[in-house]
């Protein structure tokens, strides 16, 4: 049953990060379907196909070749069909500038890539169990950046 799965997509050009990401979900006791893409172009191509499965949460790396996370975010926010998709920014940097920009552009949460695997698991667990309806209503610049 498709409904039982939480659909997750990650777009990240870094193979190691993609590996950590999928490993973490494998170790978490949550039934998820994780799809990864190597860059923004691949991601957007997929999302625009007719049989694309829209994820519950889309994890976007910011710094990617060809099409950056910001460009993907812009495109996604321009189209109504992605309205139900929660967007988590998943980046190495946590610069004020990036946080500010992605918040204004309509991302739902900002995650700074953690430094160890345990924390990563904790973060991902937290993110996919968020009640997005509730979170988005109370969203402001202070709780936009995920802190554990």
């Amino acid at each position: 049953m498709q409904e039982d799965y939480i659909n997750i997509i990650l777009a990240d050009d870094d193979a190691d990060d993609r590996m950590f990401f999928t490993d973490a979900f494998e170790e978490l006791k949550i039934t998820t379907k994780v799809k990864t893409f190597n860059d923004g172009v691949e991601l957007m191509d997929y999302l625009h196909t007719d049989d694309a499965v829209f994820p519950n949460v889309l994890f976007l790396d910011l710094n990617m070749p060809r099409k950056s996370g910001l460009e993907c975010l812009t495109e996604i926010k321009q189209s109504d069909k992605f309205n139900d998709m929660a967007i988590a920014i998943y980046s190495t940097s946590a610069s004020e500038e990036d946080i500010e920009k992605t918040f204004v552009m309509g991302a739902n949460i900002y995650i700074k890539k953690p430094n160890d695997f345990k924390t990563l698991k904790k973060v991902l667990q937290e993110v996919i169990t968020i009640n997005w309806q509730y979170h988005t209503n109370g969203l402001n610049k202070d709780n936009f950046l995920l802190r554990l």
Binding site: S93, P114, D116
Partner: protein, 594 residues
């Protein structure tokens, strides 16, 4: 100064006219009195002459009488001659008398009386002659006439002497008038002389004094002119004057020098000047000159000139109308060589560009540090945690030790990168000051450190802090770093206690604030009971990467306090640290009172 001299010249003019008037007046009076004098002397002469003529008449009558008597006695005609001559003389004297006394009516009357008396006397003479014959003196008619003649003669005598007396009286009066005139006239002359001398003296002293003043003023002008020349050379500017009515120019010496020419080496004119104007600025210059001739005014204009040796200089010119004391219209102008200024400006601009470029590079470096450097490190750390989770069991004891060492090194590197980033982001340029409550900022800082504070059982007490204009997140960072520092360097023997106090102070009363540029400061002190430090190092602790302790003992990066210093300096403040080994440290920062 010129105004004062002008006023004086007006004074001199009026003094001159007044004295000329007085001299003329006195001269007139003197002329009149001299005139009077000559008149009175003429009158005197007239009176004398009158008297003489009267005496002559009397003498002539006497002669005639004597002649008659002689003729009567001797009957000799020789005696008749005085009689005849006497008659003629009397007539001549009468004519003279009439003329002399023409303006004297009483005299005329007297003369008339005298004339009729003389006529009567003559008639008696005639009659006596008719009745006389030699030797016969007893003829009754002769005797009557002769006697009557004698009587008339007596009357004439009385009359003439009366007249002479009255003339003498007149003479005396006139003599008195003459004498008084004689006294007054020299006095007037003398007065004129004195007055003229006095006026001359006043005029002389005045002129001498003014001359001295003018000389002094001239000297000042000369000095002023010379210093103007010097200052023109030093400050690279020249003056020009446009005589509006004549449409001619005058240039100062230095203006020629600015053009690269010898002073006054060519006639000052627009045409000659425009030969030096840069070809690209010719049109602009021409327009400005037309404007100058039309409105007698030159706003600030900028143009370039080319000297004969090919050097291009930048000029700035300005002119304004000025009316001199004689009402001549002139435009006074200045030209200054601003090539240096412009070159400085260009250098400054280049430096600014370079600075901007540097800043851009620095922010690019920031990005590299924040992203690219962190990424491999993060991977190392994550892989390490994976290794630890999955492979710990397969590692020997030495392998486990090495792994711990690698982990420590990696986390230290992370700390360094984070601190460095924070340090490079702590700049003022793009951060705006806003009014913020420092109590709230301190509270936030404590919340950030809540974990470690609880862990260390630290007690933090704080007095009331002010609400001032600052960069809020930086001051929060400052509190955070300072508290963190105190906790990091706590004493092993006691729980950390941190006291934060505040007061408003006068810069002059704080010995540390020697370089203060404001009078009042907010003073905030953070005092702990940690390990303290030797005051020898009080200044070193703020230097980047400077550490007082081995990194194995204390985990500092040597950046935290440098960030504190940078933050305080961003706020035009000062920060100082002092310590007592094993007792504690005190950090004090001062923020200017706005």
């Amino acid at each position: 100064m010129p105004g004062r001299i002008l006023k004086k010249s007006w004074l001199i003019k009026s003094i001159f006219f007044i004295s000329a008037f007085i001299i003329l007046l006195i001269g007139g009076i003197t002329y009149r009195s001299i005139n009077n004098l000559s008149q009175s002397s003429a009158l005197l002469t007239q009176t004398y002459k009158l008297n003489v003529e009267l005496e002559k008449i009397f003498i002539d009558l006497k002669d005639a009488e004597t002649g008659q008597q002689g003729f009567i006695i001797t009957n000799d005609p020789i005696y008749l001659r005085p009689y005849n001559v006497g008659r003629e003389n009397i007539n001549a004297s009468f004519a003279a008398l009439k003329e002399l006394g023409s303006d004297n009516i009483p005299l005329q009357n007297d003369l008339k009386d005298l004339n009729s008396l003389i006529d009567t006397r003559m008639e008696y003479f005639e009659r006596a002659f008719r009745y006389s014959s030699v030797g016969n003196y007893y003829d009754e008619n002769f005797t009557v006439n002769f006697n009557k003649g004698k009587e008339t003669m007596d009357t004439i005598d009385v009359k003439i002497h009366g007249m002479i007396d009255s003339q003498n009286e007149l003479l005396q009066k006139r003599q008195q008038a003459y004498e008084s005139n004689l006294k007054v006239t020299p006095m007037f002359l003398y007065m004129v002389l004195l007055l003229s001398l006095l006026l001359m003296f006043i005029a002389y002293t005045k002129i001498i004094r003014d001359l001295k003043k003018i000389k002094a003023v001239n000297e000042q002008l000369e000095i002023f002119k010379e210093s103007t020349n010097q200052s023109q050379v030093i400050s690279q500017h020249g003056n020009w004057i446009l005589n509006v009515d004549e449409k001619t120019f005058e240039y100062s010496d230095n203006l020629y020098r600015l053009l690269g020419e010898e002073p006054q080496s060519f006639t000052a004119s627009t045409t000659n000047f425009s030969n030096y104007v840069h070809p690209e600025d010719q049109e602009k210059f021409k327009k400005e000159m037309e404007r100058l001739f039309k409105y007698n005014d030159l706003p600030f204009i900028y143009f370039r000139i080319v000297q004969k040796n090919g050097m291009v200089r930048h000029f700035k010119a300005f002119g304004k109308e000025y009316n001199n004391s004689e009402g001549k219209r002139k435009v006074l102008g200045t030209i200054s060589d601003i090539t240096g200024e412009i070159e400085h400006f260009k250098i400054l601009e280049e430096r600014n560009l370079e600075l901007e470029r540097n800043n851009r590079e620095l922010s690019a470096f920031n990005y590299v540090a924040s992203h690219d450097l962190q990424e491999p490190l993060r991977k190392i750390q994550t892989f390490l945690s994976r290794l630890e989770d999955k492979e710990s069991a397969n590692l020997s004891e030495v392998g486990l030790l090495y792994m711990t060492r690698i982990k420590n090194a990696a986390s230290r590197m992370r700390m360094l990168i984070d601190d460095l980033l924070q340090f490079s982001r702590t700049n003022k340029a793009d951060k705006s000051f806003e009014l913020a409550d420092m109590n709230v900022l301190l509270e936030n800082a404590q919340q950030d450190l809540a974990e470690i504070i609880t862990e260390e059982n630290a007690i933090i007490t704080a007095g009331k802090l002010p609400t001032i204009k600052l960069i809020p997140f930086q001051i929060q960072q400052l509190f955070s770093n300072l508290i963190n520092n105190s906790l990091k360097y706590k004493s092993k023997n006691r729980n950390p206690e941190i006291q934060i106090t505040y007061s408003k102070v006068k810069a002059s009363e704080e010995p540390e604030l020697v370089n203060a540029h404001k009078s009042y400061y907010h003073k905030i002190t953070i005092k702990d009971n940690g390990i303290g430090f030797n005051n020898e190092y009080a200044e070193n602790i703020f230097v980047l990467f400077n550490r007082l302790h081995n990194k194995d003992e204390y985990s500092g990066t040597g950046i935290g306090l440098s960030i504190c210093k940078k933050i305080v300096e961003n706020h035009q403040g000062f920060i100082f640290g002092s310590g007592t080994p094993d007792k504690g440290a005190v950090f004090t920062f001062f923020l200017p009172l706005s």
